[in-house]
C-alpha cells in the first residue's frame, strides 16, 4: 500500500478504548417468580422423604456466598430406600408401551419450557453461571433432551432392528455441579425412554434444580419411583454406586472419582459409562477465519467460567499467526463482562465454589512458577463470592502443569505448532481425549485432522456446541460410553440379538 500513505487522524497510538462513552445499566433478571424453600427433602418413590440421619447440607449462591437453602444428606439407608423404590417401579414402567412412556417425557419437556425462567434463575443462583447461559443453553438443551428421547421411546425397535432392545433395570446416576439441570436431563431422559428407572444423585453444591425437576415429574404425573433423587455428598454417591440393586451406573465428573467408581463396580456385572475430565486442544491454522476463531476460543474456555469437561483449555496456534492471534484474543478477552450472574449482560459469572477457586489459583500459581506468561483482564470483581478473571498463559510448554492438568476454570494455555503433524502430536499428547477444535478454511485438512484426533467430539470452526442428537463422550481418561444420539441410548438397553427368544 506504499502509494497510499494514510493520513493519520489525531489519535496517538492505535489502540482501542472501551467503556468510557456508553455504559449499560444493570439489567438484573427478577427472582420473585422463583421461590426457594428453606429446606428440601429426598425424592423417593414419589414422596418427599426426610433423611434417616436428620442431617442437612447448606447450599449457597457462589456469587454472594449467601445461603440459599439446605438439602437432605442421604445415608446408606436412604439410598437403599431409593433403589428399592426404583426396583418396585421398574416392572410396571418397562411394561408400558413406548408411546406411553413418550407421553410422560414430552410432558416433562413442555413443563420445563413453561417454567424455563424459573429454572434459569434457580440454576444461576445455585451454580453461579450467568443467566444468559442458563436461559439460552442449559434450560433449552435440558428440555431438548427430553423431547428428543421422547421421540425414540416408541421407536427403539427401529433403532436396534432385530435385536429386541430391553431395559436394564435400575440405573444409578451421579452428576457434577457444572451443568446440574442439563446433566440430570442427559442422564434421566434416555434411561426413562428405554424403560429403566433411575436414582439420581446431584452434586453436593448444586442440588436445587434437580430437586425442582422432581416437581416437574410430579406435575407430569410420572409414576412414583420411576425417577428418584437423593441429595448428599461424596458418601451418598459412594453408597449409591455400591448398591447391589443397580443394573448400571452412569457417572459424569472427575477422572479421579471415575476411577474409584470403576473399581467399585468391577466384577459385579454392572454396566458402566463414565464421562470424565478433559484437556481439549484448539488447533488454529494460519488460514483460519481468525476473528471467528477468536470467538470460538473464547467460547471454548470462558463459557460457564471454564467449568466444562470439554473446555478448549489448550490453544495450539500455528507459529506464523501466533502474535496476531494472541493480540486479537487479548483484546477480545477484555470485552468479557464478568459480574453478577443474574445480570442479563454478564458473560462470565462466579466460580462455583471456594474449593474450585483454590484449585484454579493453585494451578495458575504453578503456571507462573514454571515460567509461563500470565495475561489477565482488568475487571472489577465483586468483594463477596468466588471470582476469577479471564486468564491466558502464553509461552507455555508441553511439560507445564497448566498444559497437562485439567484446571476447570477460565484459564487458557497457549502453545504453538509449525506443521499439521506436530499439531496432531501435541493435541493428542494428553491423558484425556474428550474434545478438540479445528480452525482452518481447508476442508481436506479438517478431514485429515479429524481422523487423527483422539477425541470423542471434534468441532470444526466452532466449539462447545451441543445437541441431543449428537453423541458426546471421551477417549482415554476422559471415560467411555456416549451420551445423546442413538449411541447414547445404546448404553441404556440390553440387546438380545438374533431371533431366538431371550
Amino acid at each position: 500500500m506504499a502509494k497510499h500513505v494514510d493520513k493519520a487522524d489525531p489519535v496517538a497510538a492505535p489502540e482501542l478504548r472501551f467503556g468510557g462513552v456508553w455504559q449499560y445499566e444493570p439489567a438484573p433478571e427478577t427472582t420473585d417468580h422463583c421461590a426457594i424453600a428453606a429446606r428440601y427433602q429426598l425424592y423417593i418413590g414419589g414422596q418427599w422423604t426426610k433423611p434417616r440421619s436428620g442431617e442437612y447440607l447448606a447450599t449457597i449462591d457462589p456469587a454472594t456466598e449467601r445461603p440459599l437453602s439446605e438439602v437432605a444428606l442421604a445415608g446408606d439407608r436412604d439410598v437403599d430406600a431409593a433403589v428399592k423404590a426404583a426396583q418396585k417401579a421398574f416392572p410396571a414402567w418397562r411394561a408400558r408401551s413406548g408411546e406411553d412412556r413418550a407421553r410422560y417425557l414430552f410432558r416433562i419437556a413442555r413443563i420445563l419450557l413453561e417454567r424455563a425462567r424459573e429454572f434459569a434463575v434457580l440454576e444461576t443462583l445455585d451454580n453461579g453461571k450467568p443467566i444468559k447461559e442458563t436461559r439460552d443453553v442449559d434450560v433449552p438443551l435440558a428440555a431438548q433432551h427430553f423431547f428428543y428421547h421422547a421421540g425414540w421411546a416408541d421407536k427403539l425397535d427401529l433403532l436396534f432392528p432385530g435385536q429386541r432392545p430391553q431395559p436394564l433395570g435400575v440405573i444409578g446416576q451421579v452428576i457434577p455441579w457444572n451443568f446440574p439441570l442439563l446433566m440430570a436431563a442427559w442422564k434421566i431422559a434416555p434411561a426413562l425412554a428405554a424403560g429403566n428407572t433411575v436414582v439420581l444423585k446431584p452434586a453436593e453444591t448444586s442440588p436445587l434444580t434437580a430437586l425442582r425437576l422432581c416437581e416437574v415429574f410430579e406435575q407430569a404425573g410420572l409414576p412414583p419411583g420411576v425417577a428418584n433423587v437423593v441429595t448428599g455428598d461424596g458418601r451418598t454417591g459412594a453408597a449409591l454406586v455400591r448398591h447391589p440393586g443397580l443394573a448400571k451406573v452412569a457417572f459424569t465428573g472427575s477422572t479421579e472419582v471415575g476411577k474409584e467408581i470403576q473399581r467399585a463396580v468391577a466384577g459385579r456385572g454392572v454396566e458402566l459409562t463414565l464421562e470424565l475430565g478433559g484437556k481439549a486442544a484448539h488447533l488454529v491454522f494460519e488460514d483460519a477465519a481468525l476473528d471467528q476463531a477468536v470467538e470460538g476460543v473464547v467460547r471454548g474456555i470462558f463459557f460457564n467460567q471454564g467449568h466444562v469437561c470439554c473446555a478448549g483449555s489448550r490453544l495450539l496456534v500455528q507459529e506464523s499467526v501466533h502474535d496476531l492471534f494472541v493480540d486479537k484474543l487479548r483484546r477480545r478477552m477484555g470485552r468479557i463482562r464478568v459480574g453478577p450472574p443474574l445480570d442479563k449482560n454478564t458473560d462470565m459469572g462466579a466460580i462455583h465454589s471456594q474449593a474450585q477457586l483454590a484449585r484454579i489459583r493453585e494451578l495458575v500459581a504453578a503456571g507462573v512458577d514454571e515460567g509461563a506468561r500470565l495475561h489477565q483482564t482488568a475487571c472489577d470483581l465483586p468483594a463477596k463470592g468466588f471470582w476469577f478473571p479471564p486468564s491466558m498463559f502464553t509461552g507455555v510448554s508441553m511439560s507445564h502443569r497448566i498444559a497437562r492438568e485439567e484446571i476447570f476454570g477460565p484459564v487458557l494455555s497457549v502453545l504453538t505448532f509449525r506443521t499439521p503433524e506436530e499439531a496432531v502430536e501435541k493435541a493428542n499428547n494428553t491423558s484425556y481425549g474428550l474434545s478438540a477444535g479445528i480452525w482452518t478454511d481447508k476442508g481436506a485438512r479438517v478431514l485429515w485432522l479429524a481422523a487423527r484426533m483422539q477425541a470423542g467430539v471434534v468441532w470444526n470452526n466452532t466449539f462447545n456446541r451441543f445437541d441431543a442428537a449428537s453423541p458426546f463422550g471421551g477417549y482415554k481418561e476422559s471415560g467411555f460410553g456416549r451420551e445423546g444420539g442413538r449411541q447414547g441410548l445404546r448404553a441404556y438397553v440390553r440387546l438380545a440379538g438374533g431371533l431366538s427368544p431371550g
Binding site: 497510538a13 468510557g20 445499566e25 477465519a289
Partner: protein, 302 residues
C-alpha cells in the same frame, strides 16, 4: 489518479459465516434499559443520516426533512440534531439552503446511485457537481459488476478517482453487501475501499434486499478496527437500509461499543442511514420520559 495496486494487496482473511452470525446474535441479546437506553437513543439520533431517495422526492419534502433533522423533537431540546440529510444530487441546493447555520451535514448520493451502471466520466462529474452545490458528504456505490468479475483493481481505481473528485467532502463507499452475497466478498470489498481512502464504509443503498444486517455491520466494524490497528487511520461505518426500530438501532450501537469501542461511538465515525427509524426512536424516547407510548400521529410524518 492513483495507480492500481497489485492484486496481492486485496487479499483478506477468510470469514466464517456461522461464527460471525453467532457473535452478532450473541451481542443482540444485550439488555439496554433506562439511562443507557435514553443515552443510546440520543446517540442514535445524532448519528442519523436522515434519508430520502425516491423518484418522487420534491423540494418541499427535502425542506421538511431538513427541519426534522435540525430539531427532531421540538419539545425536547435534549434530543440532538441528526448528523446529515441524504438526498439525490439535484436536491442538494435545497438541502444546503434549508440547513444553513445548522450543524447538520448535506450528504448526496452520486456515481449513478443505486446501480452505478454508468461510465466513469459521468460518475466523476456527478460527484463534482454535488460537491460544488454544497454537499459535504458523498455516498458513492462501488462497481459490483467489476467486483464480482474479480476486477478488483478497477473497483479500487474508481474509488480513488471519486475520492479525488470529492476534495474536502467526506467519501462514504457503499459496498451494496446484498449483491456481494458472501462475507468473504464483503471483507474483500472493505479492504479495497479502505486502501482506496474511503472515509466511511457503508453497507447498502437501501434499494437491495438484504440491506444492512447485524453480521454484515459486525464484519465492517472488524475491518475498520483492524485497519486502524494496522495503520492508525480511523474509518467510519454507516449501517443503511432496513433499520426501522429503536431496538435495531441499539443492537447496532452494541456492536460498535463492543467491537470498535469509544472512538467510534460518535456521529463522526458511525452513522445510520434511515428514514423511518427516527420516529420510532422519538417514540421510545418519549416513552422513557413519560412512561407511556404516544400515538404515532404525535410525531411529524416526513
Amino acid at each position: 489518479m492513483a495507480a492500481s495496486l497489485s492484486p496481492v494487496e486485496f487479499r483478506v482473511p477468510p470469514v466464517d459465516a456461522v461464527a460471525l452470525e453467532t457473535r452478532a446474535a450473541d451481542l443482540a441479546t444485550r439488555s439496554i434499559k433506562k439511562r443507557a437506553k435514553v443515552q443510546g437513543l440520543c446517540l442514535a439520533v445524532s448519528m442519523m443520516d436522515l434519508t430520502t431517495l425516491e423518484g418522487m422526492d420534491s423540494p418541499g419534502k427535502v425542506r421538511q426533512l431538513c427541519g426534522k433533522a435540525r430539531r427532531p423533537l421540538p419539545t425536547r431540546p435534549d434530543v440532538p440534531p441528526c448528523a446529515a440529510v441524504c438526498v439525490y444530487p439535484d436536491l442538494v441546493p435545497i438541502a444546503v439552503e434549508a440547513l444553513r447555520g445548522s450543524p447538520v451535514q448535506v450528504a448526496s448520493v452520486a456515481t449513478g446511485f443505486p446501480a452505478g451502471r454508468t461510465d466513469r466520466q459521468t460518475k466523476l462529474r456527478e460527484v463534482e457537481l454535488a460537491v460544488a452545490a454544497g454537499a459535504t458528504e458523498i455516498d458513492m456505490v462501488i462497481d459490483r459488476g467489476a467486483f464480482l468479475a474479480g476486477r478488483y483493481g478497477l473497483v479500487y481505481d474508481e474509488i480513488c478517482a471519486v475520492k479525488e473528485a470529492c476534495g474536502a467532502a467526506h467519501l462514504k463507499v457503499i459496498l451494496e453487501t446484498g449483491e456481494l452475497r458472501t462475507y468473504d466478498n464483503m471483507r474483500r470489498a472493505c479492504r479495497i475501499a479502505l486502501l482506496a481512502g474511503a472515509d466511511f464504509l457503508k453497507t447498502s443503498t437501501g434499494k437491495v434486499t438484504p440491506a444492512s444486517t447485524l453480521p454484515t455491520v459486525l464484519l465492517l466494524l472488524e475491518a475498520v478496527r483492524d485497519h486502524f490497528l494496522e495503520t492508525g487511520r480511523m474509518v467510519g461505518v454507516k449501517a443503511a437500509g432496513g433499520i426501522r426500530t429503536s431496538k435495531d438501532a441499539l443492537r447496532y450501537l452494541v456492536l460498535v461499543a463492543e467491537t470498535c469501542g469509544d472512538l467510534w461511538l460518535s456521529p463522526r465515525w458511525f452513522r445510520f442511514g434511515a428514514s423511518s427509524l427516527l420516529n420510532d426512536v422519538l417514540l421510545q424516547l418519549e416513552k422513557e420520559r413519560t412512561g407511556r407510548y404516544q400515538r404515532p400521529a404525535d410525531f411529524s410524518a416526513d
